[in-house]
C-alpha cells in the first residue's frame, strides 16, 4: 500500500481525474472530500462488506444447516 502523509486542506490526485482532499482531522476521524467523474463508484467499505454479507446470507440455506438450526432449542 502506498502511504502518503497529508495535513488538513492538502490533497492528492489519482489518475488525473480523482482528487482527494483532507478536509478535517479530529482525534479519531478524518473528513475526506472526493472529486471524481460521475461514473466512478465510491462506497464506504463497511457498506460494501454489508452488501456482500447480505448477498451471501440470502442464498439458499444448506440442508444440513437448516436441519441443525430447526433442531436447536433455546436454553
Amino acid at each position: 500500500m502506498l502511504v502518503v502523509t497529508r495535513k488538513t486542506d492538502e490533497s492528492l490526485t489519482i489518475s488525473d481525474n480523482i482528487e482527494i482532499t483532507v478536509l478535517e482531522i479530529t482525534k479519531d476521524r478524518v473528513k475526506i472530500g472526493i472529486s471524481a467523474p460521475k461514473d466512478i463508484k465510491i462506497i464506504r467499505n463497511e457498506l460494501r462488506d454489508a452488501q456482500d454479507m447480505n448477498k451471501e446470507s440470502s442464498q439458499a440455506l444448506p440442508k444440513a444447516a437448516m436441519e441443525a438450526l430447526l433442531g436447536i432449542k433455546k436454553d
Binding site: E46, A50, L61, P62
Partner: protein, 147 residues
C-alpha cells in the same frame, strides 16, 4: 389481519400483520425489497428467525437478536436514520442481526455492525451501519475448548 406469503424455506404460510415490516430503503444490496415478514419457526420470540421478503421467495435471511449475543449491545442512530425510522425517545426499538449460515452451522457468523433496526410501534425497519466498533462477521457458536 394476516397475509399469505410464499417462503423460501417453508412453502406457503400465513403471517400475521404485526410480523410484517416495511423497509422504506430496502436492505443493503436489496434496495428494491421494501417489505419483509419475520417468521419464527422455532416458536414465538425464539431465535434464529427468518426474515422473508413478502414479494418474492428471495431474499430471505436468517436473523438473530444481537442483544442476546452481546448483553452490552448498544446502538447509536444518526438523525437521518431516526427520521427514516420515525424514531423518537419513546419509540420501542428492536434489532436483528443478519447471519451467514454455512453447511456447518457451527461456523455461523452474524453481522453486529450493520443491524436491522425496527421501529416496533410503526413496523418500519432499516439496515444501518453503526458507528460503534462491532464485528461484521461474529462467530456465535464458539465452543468451549475450541481454539
Amino acid at each position: 389481519m394476516s397475509m399469505e406469503i410464499m417462503t423460501r424455506d417453508f412453502g406457503l404460510i400465513n403471517v400475521e400483520e404485526d410480523k410484517i415490516f416495511n423497509f422504506p430503503s430496502g436492505i443493503f444490496a436489496f434496495e428494491d425489497c421494501r417489505q419483509f415478514a419475520l417468521i419464527s419457526p422455532l416458536g414465538e420470540n425464539v431465535y434464529p428467525m427468518w426474515l422473508q421478503s413478502t414479494e418474492n421467495v428471495t431474499p430471505c435471511f436468517i436473523v438473530f437478536d444481537p442483544a442476546t449475543i452481546d448483553g452490552a449491545y448498544r446502538i447509536t442512530l444518526n438523525s437521518s436514520e431516526k427520521k427514516l425510522l420515525k424514531i423518537n425517545d419513546d419509540t420501542n426499538i428492536r434489532c436483528l442481526s443478519i447471519a451467514v449460515v454455512p453447511e456447518d452451522y457451527k461456523k455461523t457468523t452474524v453481522n453486529m455492525k450493520c443491524p436491522i433496526v425496527i421501529n416496533a410501534d410503526e413496523r418500519i425497519a432499516a439496515q444501518v451501519i453503526l458507528p460503534e466498533k462491532y464485528e461484521i462477521r461474529l462467530p456465535i457458536y464458539v465452543e468451549k475448548g475450541a481454539e
